[in-house]
Symmetry: C2
Subunit: 312 residues, 2 copies
């Protein structure tokens, strides 16, 4: 698939996701809700709208398309994509807080606690975390309650203490925030575990949720999970390479932080040349994982290349 065609498909899903989030994150209380405080909704919209590649919703939707053969965009898929984006977005808000990574810019604008305040940022993150599961459990996402329960369990386990939240905890520990008070370089195995939890788990969940929405059989689920593992690792190697070589203006957030904090990354262990060769290998492996799907997998194969080559 030409990269311009891929870019068009990515942008179309990003636009649809943006519209879905704007609709779901409005000021109108839903049944079972009392009222939605305006400041809280404004803060959530500040962080959740107006930016982002929407990579996780894209993977979810393209996985569902691949398995189902459909090329339209059912509302339920967009809702599930919005749910995973809520989790991603809340994690960025909380990770940026002064007591966490203490970041001032995100996607090229002030972080939420700078634009609003810390208490609002904590609550906006909490609200997005909870809203994700609200969206998934609602019959509007899928008529089959077994699929909805599966979506909730998949996302909760990927996002929770044994996944994304646990990965952030390991990341802070690697900075020497507790006990020793200084950074201890991690082993390669520890880096891979940390990264697999902090970012890999949610990318895998995106593909698994798309597979669940499309009623994938066990073979298709397994192939998509292998693909997701490979692109998850590529995502992180590319991220480390950007932290190593990028500049803040292009990346849209502070760079060089991992190195300054003394945390080991795979790039600091093995070098930039190794990283570029690894990205090529991971892209090829991701394509091979989806070979059974034939040409229908062209978009997800292009997504793997995009993830490996991304500049922000």
């Amino acid at each position: 698939m030409p990269s311009s065609e891929f870019a068009d498909r990515l942008a179309a899903v990003a636009d649809a996701t943006e519209a879905a989030l704007a609709r779901l994150l409005d000021h109108t209380a839903r049944p079972g809700e009392t009222t939605r405080p305006a400041r809280l909704i404004d803060a959530m919209r500040y962080s959740a709208l107006g930016g982002g590649k929407r990579l996780r919703p894209f993977l979810l939707i393209e996985a569902a398309r691949l398995v189902s053969g459909r090329d339209d965009l059912p509302d339920g898929w967009l809702r599930a994509g919005a749910a995973i984006e809520c989790i991603h977005c809340y994690s960025l808000i909380h990770d940026d807080l002064p007591s966490m990574d203490n970041d001032d810019i995100r996607r090229g604008k002030p972080t939420l606690h700078r634009a609003f305040d810390e208490a609002t940022a904590i609550l906006a993150g909490d609200g997005l975390n909870t809203l994700a599961f609200d969206l998934l459990a609602d019959p509007e996402t899928d008529p089959d309650p077994a699929v909805r329960a599966d979506l909730v369990l998949t996302l909760a386990r990927a996002a929770g203490i044994g996944g994304m939240v646990g990965g952030q905890m390991l990341d802070l520990a690697a900075e020497g925030r507790f006990a020793a008070g200084r950074a201890t370089p991690l082993s390669e195995a520890a880096i891979r575990q940390l990264q697999g939890m902090k970012t890999g788990a949610l990318l895998r969940a995106a593909c698994a949720m798309g597979a669940a929405l499309a009623r994938a059989d066990a073979d298709a689920r397994a192939a998509l999970d292998c693909y997701a593992r490979h692109i998850g690792l590529a995502f992180q190697v590319a991220d480390d390479l950007l932290d190593h070589e990028g500049d803040a203006a292009t990346v849209g957030k502070a760079v060089g932080k991992d190195q300054a904090l003394g945390k080991g990354t795979l790039v600091s262990l093995h070098g930039a040349d190794w990283a570029r060769a690894t990205l090529d290998q991971l892209t090829a492996a991701a394509a091979a994982d989806l070979a059974p799907f034939g040409d229908a997998a062209a978009t997800l194969v292009a997504a793997a290349r995009f993830i490996a080559a991304r500049k922000n």
Copy 2:
């Protein structure tokens, strides 16, 4: 029901909930999890174990018992009770943070961010929030996925932006934390809305989840929801009365804060005598709601009296 018999029943559920939480919040990774970082689990256990009346699990379990006629304690009910307790506990951890209510003691011991650190407290809260939905969506909680999806939706909507999280946002606004910079006394309607969201919604969810687990019909659900609304209001009036008249040693947290912050409460608007009369009326109304169940409702009727009369 004699108050000693009620106390025994409450203690038995609290003990079973404590054991369930200890088992669910252990250090062993579950399928789909990579690893559970020790410090994160230790922090979650510090806050979630070793205290609390476990009122929400108690209401959930007693509602399920009332509807089903069962008197045993199925593991699925305990899991659902643990899930709602995870939400309650995460809200206390985040509400105690320096940028929120800045509290140093909770249940008579240092708050989590004092005992550990702020970043760990934020992540422990996030982990408990997510774990609640993990627990509910797991087939071990109920064999019927429709019940599991219902449990998730009920809890997420009660705990989220239109419920508990939204209520905390309104509470901070009432303290004048944003814009004006000083407290503006709330109208009675605004106080009732805030309290209904901040604490009432989760008490209602507890009863609704118990009803769902027991396959309650529409009449039973409606009766339990009226009961839950009455005890929710009683809970808050009793809380305001404790803030008005209690002492920190008995209550186990700082008292007089609401008054010092200039926030209006129903007790500051109407006085302590009104509050005591209102508590009597609410207790009677809660009992009337459950009259269709006859003597089987004795435990929940006693729970209403307990909530109105509690000293901590």
